[in-house]
Symmetry: C3
Subunit: 134 residues, 3 copies
C-alpha cells in the first residue's frame, strides 16, 4: 500500500518482478503461486506518530510452515528491493509477512498444497485434470 502516484506502472512491474523472484528463490514455490497487488491511498490518509506521512506498507501472506530463516530473508529482500527501487527513507517502509495455513487457502477451487515440492506438484497435476478454464 502506497500513496497514490508513488509507483507508476513501470515501477509496479519491476517491484512485482522482484517480489516474485524473491519468493520463488527463497521458497522454491511455483511462480504461479505468487500474487502481488498494489493498493493506494490518496495523500493525507496515512499518519505516523500522529503526523501525515508518506508511508509504504507492504503486507504479505505466505503459507505456514516455512523456516524463520526463509521468512527473514523474504522480509529483508523485499524491504531492500523497495528501498532500492524508490530511494525513499527506510523509516517510511513497513514490511509485514504473516502466515496463513494452507488449509485456510483455496485457489483454482482446490485447497492450497502444503509448502513443499511434492504437495505442490500433486496440486498442479490435479488442477490440470480438473480444469475447465473459462
Amino acid at each position: 500500500l502506497t500513496q497514490t502516484g508513488t509507483l507508476d506502472s513501470d515501477a509496479r512491474q519491476r517491484f512485482a518482478d522482484e517480489v516474485t523472484a524473491i519468493h520463488v528463490s527463497e521458497t522454491g514455490a511455483p511462480i504461479e503461486f505468487v500474487n502481488v497487488i498494489f493498493p493506494e491511498l490518496p495523500e493525507g490518509r496515512a499518519f505516523r506518530a500522529g503526523k501525515v506521512a508518506d508511508k509504504a506498507i507492504i503486507q504479505a501472506w505466505i503459507r505456514a510452515g516455512r523456516t524463520d530463516e526463509v521468512r527473514h530473508n523474504i522480509i529483508q529482500r523485499v524491504s531492500d528491493a523497495y528501498l532500492e527501487l524508490t530511494g525513499t527513507d527506510p523509516m517510511h517502509v513497513l514490511v509485514v509477512v504473516e502466515d496463513a495455513p494452507s488449509s485456510h487457502i483455496m485457489e483454482g477451487g482446490q485447497i492450497a498444497p502444503e509448502p513443499n515440492p511434492e504437495a505442490e506438484k500433486a496440486w498442479f497435476a490435479k488442477q490440470q485434470t480438473a480444469g475447465t478454464p473459462a
Copy 2:
C-alpha cells in the same frame, strides 16, 4: 477484492447474499454478524506469476474455534459461489479464511461472543439493554 468493474451493484448484492447465507448455514451464527465488503483495484494493479492479472482475492475472518470441516465448507462454498456468479477462470480466484479470536474483536462497543449460540444470545441481550442507537 476485484478489479474495478468486475462486479456491478447487482452482482455485489447477490454475492453478499450468498456469503451471508453460507456463513449462517455453516456456523449457525446470527446473520447480523456477517459483514461483507467489496474493495476494488484499478486494472494493472494485480500481478500473478509476474504478469498483470485480473485477480479476485476473497479474504475473510471468522471467529476462532470453528471446526476444520466448517472452515473447509465455507471456503469451498464461497469459492464455488464466486465462480458460478462470474464464470471466471478458477485460477484467478483466491479465497483465504483466517481466524480471529473473539477477544480480539469488538462490535457495538462489546467484545464479540465466543462462536456458540449461548454466548451469542447473551451478547445480543446485553446489546439491547445497553443500546442507545444513533
Copy 3:
C-alpha cells in the same frame, strides 16, 4: 475502513491523534511505531446481514506479546474514541486488534523490536547509527 466522506481531514487527524495516544499510553511503545491509515469504500460496497450498510471497520496489528488486558483496553478505547468522534450507531463499528510477532515485521530496514522498552531503545540506537535517510 469507512464509507467515502465519513471522515474529513480534520476528523482523520483527530482520530489518528486518539489512536496514537491510546497505543502509547497503553503499551509504552515509542510514538514513532504508531501508523494509522484511512482506507475508504464508496457507498454500496459494504453489507451487513445481507443489506447495504454504512460500516466502519477498524483493523489494527500490534506486536505479539502484550497482555490480554492491554489488548482489551486498546480495543475498548479505540471503539469509544470512534463512537464519540462520529456519533454513529455502535453496531456499525467493528474493531479487530490482531497480533503480529515482531520477527514478522520490518521497519527502517530492521526487524521490529520485541514489545519492551529495552528492545525498543536498542532498536532506535541501531537505527540512528545505520541511518542514511533519503
